[in-house]
């Protein structure tokens, strides 16, 4: 068990290093930050001076090494655009993304499971078929289009919900800001979280439905019904429980995707989270911000995968037996 964990952690660290290396080798294709930092009346000498000052004259392995050196000490450098420490900026933006991801995730899980079960149980009903057809939209329409459609419908045409931003936020603790505590903050969450969660919701719904249909065909369900158990007990205590194992795995993996894909939703709704920060950083060639964001996202994915792997190890006894037997 310990050997397994150590091996997985070491692999994760290696993955992180490689992600960082690839990211750094890509940065020079993103463009040159110098022109954005100097005005129209800059001279060639100004350009060279700033390039040396930022260390951009050095080969990328050296730049990467310096970044790593700072990163392990918790120092991600200073944003080219804002002239402030990157860690500070990321912390400032993280609550917006995390709150959005949490609400979208919750929305996707609750509605996804509920609708999945519903469509499985009433698979021939009119309503279930309508929902199934409508779910195709969620799977096939690109996120930005859904976002724009929602904005035009609920903000421009109906005027019910704000078209952009996070509304009024309230400071909780040292660095967390929340939109949950104000009416405008809650209203601002609705459209972006639907936009962000729709794909995941339809995915979970379709997964739950097919798993459920599979389980409902099993003999023990038939016997349960034959025993005269009520529908609710059969459907929930027996059927749903047994469909949840693969569903939970997918939900775990989708959690990371929600945060990573928030980039598009955040751009459409001008949601002040880390995704929007990243997009702006790309446009400005703000290398320290891009590097820190990419590392953060890869740490998150690697971390989730690691946890999922460890959970498998705990849940599935066969894995343990196999390993023990093999060595």
């Amino acid at each position: 068990m310990l050997a397994f964990i150590i091996r997985r952690v070491a692999q994760s660290a290696l993955v992180l290093l490689i992600v960082g290396l690839v990211a750094f080798s890509m940065f020079r294709f993103v463009g040159d930050p110098i022109d954005n930092m100097l005005g129209q009346e800059r001279t060639q000498a100004d350009i060279e001076r700033l390039r040396v000052q930022l260390g951009l004259d050095q080969p990328f392995p050296v730049q990467y090494y310096k970044f790593l050196e700072g990163a392990v000490q918790g120092n991600f450098g200073v944003s080219y655009r804002q002239g402030r420490p990157v860690a500070e900026i990321l912390l400032e933006r993280a609550p917006a993304t995390l709150e959005l991801a949490a609400v979208s995730g919750l929305l996707a899980i609750v509605l996804g499971i509920a609708l999945g079960v519903f469509t499985a149980i009433r698979r021939n009903g009119v309503m279930a078929n309508v929902i199934m057809s409508a779910s195709l939209i969620g799977v096939s329409l690109p996120t930005f289009l859904i976002g724009i459609l929602l904005i035009y419908l609920f903000s421009v045409e109906l005027g019910w919900l704000p078209s952009f931003g996070r509304g009024e936020t309230v400071r909780v603790g040292d660095w967390w800001t929340t939109g949950f505590l104000t009416p405008s903050g809650r209203a601002a969450l609705i459209l972006p979280s639907i936009t962000l969660g729709l794909y995941q919701m339809t995915l979970i719904m379709r997964l739950v439905r097919s798993e459920m249909l599979e389980v409902l065909r099993q003999d023990y369900i038939r016997f349960a019904r034959a025993r005269g158990l009520r529908d609710r007990v059969v459907n929930f205590r027996h059927a749903l429980k047994n469909t949840m194992v693969p569903v939970i795995t997918v939900i775990g993996l989708q959690l990371g995707a929600i945060i990573a894909f928030a980039i598009i939703t955040e751009t459409v709704f001008q949601w002040p989270g880390v995704g929007l920060l990243f997009i702006n950083a790309v446009q400005f060639v703000d290398i320290p911000v891009m590097a820190a964001y990419l590392m953060l996202i890869s740490v998150m994915f690697v971390g989730i995968n690691l946890i999922v792997d460890l959970l498998y190890f705990l849940i599935d006894p066969r894995l343990r037996v196999d390993r023990a037997g093999g060595h």
Binding site: F29, G31, D32, P33, D35, N36, L38, G39, Q40, E41, R42, T43, Q44, A45, L54, V78, R81, Q82, G83, R84, I89, L107, L111, A114, V117, F118, I121, R122, M127, I148, I151, Y152, F154, S155, V156, G159, W160, L161, P162, S163, F164, G165, G167, P183, S184, A187, A188, I190, D231, R232, N235, F236, T267, V268, Q270, P272, L277, I279, Q283, V285
Partner: protein, 533 residues
């Protein structure tokens, strides 16, 4: 049974959503004098000397003030200086300062602040340093008189410092920000203390910046704003939706393709004007050979003025403006727009669209069958820049020259131009001084690192007469003589076809219909000219 639960859950969620939405709708329905606006770019700093870029200077013009400022029609008018006059025979300028002016923190303004701001803004750490290249010394005569000495007579100096903003010496020193720090930031990056009509009350980079009126402002108040909030919105569709839904009162810019649609909407107004920016094509004057040609690898046709002339005649600018700019821009024949000082009325005529003449010129230059070359173009710098380049490519093909278009983001574009990786390129130029001398200095003068000339003259265009006239234009006090020299340079640039100017970029702003404001050609949004009805 299950479906009942699902339905209940759904209803709950929907009701909650609707309730929240309705509450907000009610809240925004009542509009106070809080004015909200959205721009594409967040000003990256609140330090007026750290970054010389339009988003920063335009925003800070509401917070800080200079000795002089520009009025609604771009004329230079008194601000912190009430009057100014040349010293002696052009040795410098004397500025008489306004008395009784206070900064936002209550401290008073005098000559010490001017001297301090000069030292701060002209330091090597400042991006605004080049404005003070002509200045030899700044002297305090008395607390309300300052002499700014120039190394040579400089008639346009007062107009060239309209964006030089005065910072309080005491405030800067107390907050340890004697110099701007662009790389690491300091107190002035997030805070401001100017004398302007509005003071900064909240600054959240990339989220929102809040201004409130400065109660002790010296000027006469024209606006009725009690609070103003600026939010950057990068996505044009989102900005437009925010304007249409009334979440913001003003957006800049409105996407060109949406102008016609907005015109039919009674809730919003579209304000159109001409920006100071001239869009042009540039050439490699010095290159020995084309870099991206399939067949002409040992010669540079663009070194021949006749070929450049052919390009000028081959491009149908009115058609470009009609289709791509939807009639919102104006063609131009020189490097500045008619709104700029020193615009040459004598040279206002653009080469006519004449493909036959273009073909004849090409034949005369030895390219009867044309040639192929590489056209570099940004795709996110100017309005519809890539589409314009595609149109240019098509029009040049009509006369037999084949452009291989390579469009890229501006972050990659400037390094390519600096590395001479082009056979023709698209450039936009907005003169910071609003004077025709500006593009001559940056685009037409022979590149000279030491004298800071021709720093954007990528193609290395060089004409001894232009180089000779430039210092004379810079120091000529007599307006008529100065204009004559500018006319001569303009004529030379047109005869040489140093560049092919195409059009002046349009400005398209959108407001709610209850907003009145003034659009200035430099695309600066001046809050004190806004009225909310």
């Amino acid at each position: 049974m299950l479906h009942r639960h699902t339905a209940t859950a759904l209803t709950l969620i929907l009701t909650a959503g609707l309730a929240a939405g309705l509450t907000l709708g009610a809240a925004t329905g009542v509009r106070a004098e809080t004015f909200k606006w959205a721009g594409t770019t967040d000003p990256q700093t609140m330090d007026p000397h750290a970054v010389n870029s339009a988003p920063v200077l335009g925003f800070l013009n509401n917070v800080y003030e200079g000795l002089v400022r520009r009025g609604k029609d771009m004329t230079v008018e008194p601000a912190l200086a009430t009057s100014w006059e040349p010293i002696g025979d052009g040795e410098g300028w004397r500025f008489h300062l306004r008395e009784g002016v206070t900064f936002h923190d209550g401290s008073s303004f005098d000559a010490e602040d001017v001297l301090f701001s000069y030292q701060r803004a002209s330091d090597e750490a400042s991006d605004t340093r080049s404005w003070f290249a002509p200045v030899s010394e700044v002297r305090i005569v008395d607390p309300y008189t300052v002499d700014i000495m120039t190394s040579a007579p400089n008639p346009i100096f007062p107009g060239s410092i309209a964006n030089w903003m005065i910072m309080d010496k005491g405030w800067a020193e107390a907050n340890a920000t004697p110099l701007p720090d662009k790389e690491n930031g300091n107190y002035a990056t997030l805070n401001a203390n100017g004398t302007g009509a509005f003071q900064l009350v909240a600054r959240e980079p990339g989220l929102r910046t809040v201004l409130e009126p400065h109660d002790d402002w010296w000027g006469e108040v024209e606006h009725n704003i009690t609070r103003a909030e600026m939010t950057p919105i990068q996505n044009p569709a989102t900005a437009l939706a925010a304007l249409l839904s009334g979440d913001v009162d003003f957006i800049n810019p409105v996407p060109i393709q949406d102008v016609a649609r907005l015109a039919g909407n009674g809730d919003v107004n579209v304000i159109q004007g001409i920006e100071a920016r001239v869009i042009m094509l540039g050439f490699p004057h010095e290159a020995p050979a084309l870099k991206y040609s399939a067949e002409t690898t040992d010669a540079n046709p663009f070194a021949d003025a006749r070929v450049r002339q052919a390009v000028a005649h081959a491009i149908n600018v009115p058609a470009i403006l009609q289709t791509i700019m939807r009639g919102n821009a104006e063609e131009v024949a020189q490097l500045v727009s008619p709104a700029m000082r020193g615009y040459s009325n004598a040279q206002a005529e653009r080469p006519a669209y004449d493909p036959d003449k273009a073909r004849a010129l090409l034949a005369e230059a030895g390219y009867p069958d044309g040639f192929s070359f590489g056209l570099k173009c940004p795709n996110n710098r100017y309005l519809n820049d890539e589409a314009v380049c595609q149109a240019v490519t098509g029009m040049l093909a009509q006369v037999g020259i084949t452009a291989n278009l390579d469009a890229m983001p501006v972050q990659n574009y400037w390094p390519e131009l600096r590395a001479d990786n082009y056979d023709m390129y698209l450039l936009g130029w907005s003169p910071g001084t609003f004077d025709a001398e500006h593009p001559i200095r940056f685009l037409a003068a022979t590149p000279n690192e030491e004298k800071k000339l021709g720093s954007w003259n990528f193609g290395g265009y060089s004409n001894p007469r232009v180089d000779e006239l430039l210092p004379q234009i810079q120091s000529e006090i007599d307006d008529a003589k100065r204009q004559a020299m500018i006319d001569e340079v303009t004529a030379i640039l047109q005869d040489d076809v140093a560049y092919v100017p195409l059009y002046v970029q349009p400005l398209v702003w959108g407001t709610r219909s209850n907003i009145e404001l003034t659009q200035r050609p430099d695309n600066f949004f001046i809050l004190r000219w806004v009225t909310v009805n």
